[in-house]
Symmetry: C2
Subunit: 358 residues, 2 copies
């Protein structure tokens, strides 16, 4: 071989060079987007495989030999900063898990709380967080039945992290799941989007201006109860809370799980003026910004008016609106009919836009 | 007031100056000892108060309207280093929670897994941990039914932390709890103590010599099943796995919960020669060193021979032995009859001896 020959690895069609950094965890792996889905699909699902986990929902539904079903879910919370307008890591830790259990149509009953505390954390900070958890648990009417405390050295955490796990029961008549969206179904959203993400960014001082945007954090289990009560069990197909990755990622997950298309109407999606302004300034699309007190319901078209009304009559659903529908075309895709009349694809978030938002 | 008057706060009897550092979290708050109990009693129990949590056991027992009881528990795992002789953080995360559920006499069925990953964590490390979790879950015959993944910036964690929550069912005929120890009961220990703590210290290079001590990490749920099967439900009073804080802390907790005394015979407590040597060198008492695959059973004296035999016939109980008894005297205290014939108090661990041991 002459020295002027091309190196063997340079021959053949030009392939993208495998990126070294994909072999290490990067911030995008916690994003709620494609990189996280990829991590879960390749690294966690194969060894853990079982039918309950592979459903890919927010919580595991397990059958006991009884006329009820247990629903079990967990979430770690690493939001930074610990306190922000409208909430804090404690309220988030309770509501996040309550909502994950509720999104399966279950009544959340019990929750566990596990703290990882950084050496040097100030006690008043911890007390404030714990009080906030108490209030949220009271509102959600859920019992904290077990807990754990670990402490790590200064510099090995960031104040505190909280992991919660929730257990709820649901009627076996319900088959609510991300796999159940059906062509013809209506897509209903419980209110404005992006409030949580922008509120946390504001608290980080990343908006560059004073903002009065509050996080929307709220326990949604009572809204879920009302929605189930207003119609027949078989007409309610999917509930999902669009947290990390926002409405766009949540709907893409559902479109994939159910192998259907979802078409949204841009002008129907409610966004607060201040949130919109902040997103424009930062170059974000509010569809990808995290919510912590919003619910997407996908239901039979025959009951969509009843569900919309029940949502609007709920404490956190006054601004509920019908934002789109499920279609046969474009399975696995979410499309947006824009305000100027065109249609664009709403893709899943690829990497990280807002680290440590929950 | 003249300038030479003593300051008002200096008058009166000399009081210990309140220590400023008690207002911040220190490593001792995660020790499993008094400081952690104090933190839980003062900071977590009052706002979270409910009868299930206040039992103070390793897992919450909750009643459904069914002929079974759910048992729910959680643990965060922050052990360092991530790998050590006999185990790793993944095996620990599964076995720790399986054992907490089993210690209530329940059959663990479902587990949730939540990861906090540090940016920059190497993927092969994560894969090795996940494979280890898979093996442990298989052995324990438990399903991982839900999970979560968060990523924090480099320097905001230490590789990875894992929080698990477990759900199990148990017969309502059982009333196993730390509150059920009764005078006359026998105290049985399933094997040698201190192996886990010393194995982890060895992996940290803190022993100053090469050690072959292996951690004892193991799922104990099948041993628990065998012990329950060998006698009547009402004769089994307490199961406890002596993890952080060791056998001494576990027995002190039980003595307090049941308001009884516990008397141990020093010469009956099995300690490996190598563990004993390491403890002597480091100035530790093996009674305070963590175990991850040991069980303390407190049972009626009438069934203690059967329970001891069933334990010795179990996979992880070959070296089981009767180490003491429950007494009326000294309620809340653990006493040790030493090899030289005296009796000493075995107190609860006060601060931290081995940070991040689990």
């Amino acid at each position: 071989m002459k020295m002027s020959d091309p190196l063997p690895s340079m021959q053949g069609p030009v392939c993208p060079v495998p990126l070294q950094h994909t072999e290490k965890i990067v911030m995008g792996h916690g994003s709620g987007g494609k990189m996280m889905q990829d991590l879960i699909a390749k690294t966690f699902f194969p060894p853990f495989e079982n039918p309950v986990l592979m459903m890919g929902d927010d919580a595991g539904v397990v059958n006991l030999d009884h006329p009820t079903q247990l629903v079990i879910s967990t979430d770690s919370h690493v939001v930074w900063p610990l306190f922000f307008p409208g909430g804090d890591i404690g309220k988030l830790a309770i509501c996040g898990t309550v909502n994950d259990v509720a999104m399966m149509g279950a009544k959340p009953l019990y929750i566990t709380v596990s703290f990882i505390l950084e050496e040097g954390l100030e006690m008043p900070v911890l007390k404030r967080v714990v009080e906030s958890m108490k209030s949220a648990a009271l509102e959600a009417d859920i019992q904290i039945v077990a807990g754990d405390t670990k402490v790590v050295q200064k510099g090995k955490a960031d104040g505190l992290y909280i992991t919660t796990a929730g257990v709820g029961v649901r009627s076996p008549k319900l088959s609510i799941s991300g796999t159940q969206a059906k062509p013809g179904d209506k897509v209903i959203l419980s209110g404005t989007i992006g409030d949580h993400g922008i509120a946390v960014l504001g608290a980080r001082g990343e908006l560059g201006f004073e903002s009065e945007i509050q996080s929307d954090i709220a326990p949604l289990n009572k809204m879920v109860e009302a929605l189930i009560a207003c119609t027949e069990p078989e007409q309610v197909h999917v509930f999902r809370d669009p947290t990390r990755g926002g409405v766009a990622s949540a709907l893409n997950e559902i479109a994939n799980q159910s192998n259907v298309g979802i078409v949204l109407d841009e002008h129907k999606i409610p966004v607060r003026r201040a949130v919109n302004a902040a997103c424009e300034m930062l170059g974000f699309d509010p569809l990808y910004v995290a919510n912590e007190g919003k619910l997407i319901a996908i239901v039979s078209s025959s009951c969509s008016d009843d569900v919309l009304m029940a949502m609007r009559n709920s404490l956190y659903g006054e601004e509920a609106t019908l934002i789109g529908e499920v279609v046969n075309d474009h399975p696995g895709r979410v499309l947006m009919r824009t305000t100027i009349g065109s249609t664009r694809i709403v893709d899943t978030l690829s990497g990280e836009i807002l680290p440590r938002i929950c």
